[in-house]
């Protein structure tokens, strides 16, 4: 899979055009929300649940990467970021339901993102669909 990156030398439709631009907007809002919350958790309550908060911070960082990669048509990076998010929300969602004690505090991915209106589950799927559509 070639990665044309910014500038789209290959002449393909930019990822962030039309519906893709709306997707990037929602991704951006979610990235800001997730990273603000994670930053605050790490700064103020890190000792309460270090694993959950570090996981939240990792998730937030990947959302930021995905937002930038989708916005700038960095397709391979966007593919990895969206794929990682989908895997994360599925794995952590399943583990949080099967072993509730493993996650004493909520992360964005707990219960398949139910605490965030399942946006964490839907976004990477839409991102991957958009990448396939414009490939």
């Amino acid at each position: 899979m070639a990665d044309a990156g910014p500038g789209e030398a290959s002449g393909r439709e930019p990822v962030a055009a039309g519906p893709g631009r709306l997707l990037v907007a929602v991704y951006g809002i979610f990235a800001v929300a997730a990273s603000s919350r994670a930053g605050l958790q790490l700064l103020t309550r890190f000792d309460d649940a270090p694993v959950a908060y570090l996981l939240s911070a990792l998730a937030a960082a990947v959302y930021l990467v995905a937002t930038v990669a989708l916005a700038r048509s960095m397709r391979r990076l966007a593919l990895y970021a969206c794929g990682f998010e989908l895997a994360g929300v599925v794995v952590v969602g399943a583990v949080s339901l099967l072993l509730p004690d493993a996650f004493p505090d909520q992360t964005v991915w707990s219960s398949f993102g139910a605490g965030y209106g399942f946006v964490p589950l839907v976004l990477p799927v839409l991102g991957l669909l958009r990448l396939r559509r414009t490939a």
Partner: protein
């Protein structure tokens, strides 16, 4: 943080959000009235931000200070950033982005109000 101002912001923001949803459904781009409404919304958001900062500087203490400041910063930057991103898109999706941005602005005021429980 002024409650009447927060309510006014939420009303303007929801009205703009609904107008943009309708325009997007009609495959139209936001016209001058909507853009003027967005400017008004941002002016109100800036006033609200200033009111909150002044109250904090005068010694108002919040139980969840960090979260409040985070929401406050985002509430002031969201509309300009979102509007620029939206207006560069010359299709109905640009109008839809503006709708999302306005509705999120309304939600942020609600979050700010719920965090605004100053002591002293």
């Amino acid at each position: 943080m002024s409650t009447p101002l927060a309510v006014a912001i939420a009303v303007v923001a929801v009205a703009l959000g609904v107008a943009c949803l309708v325009l997007a459904a009609l495959d139209r781009r936001p016209g001058k009235p909507v853009l003027q409404g967005v400017l008004l919304l941002q002016a109100l958001l800036l006033v609200q931000g200033a009111v909150a900062v002044v109250a904090l500087l005068r010694g108002a203490e919040l139980p969840d200070f960090g979260a409040f400041v985070g929401y406050l910063v985002v509430s002031v930057l969201l509309v300009p950033g979102g509007a620029v991103w939206a207006l560069e898109e010359k299709s109905r999706y640009g109008t839809l982005i503006l709708a999302v941005v306005c509705l999120v602005a309304a939600v942020l005021q609600q979050r700010l109000l719920s965090l605004w429980t100053p002591v002293g």
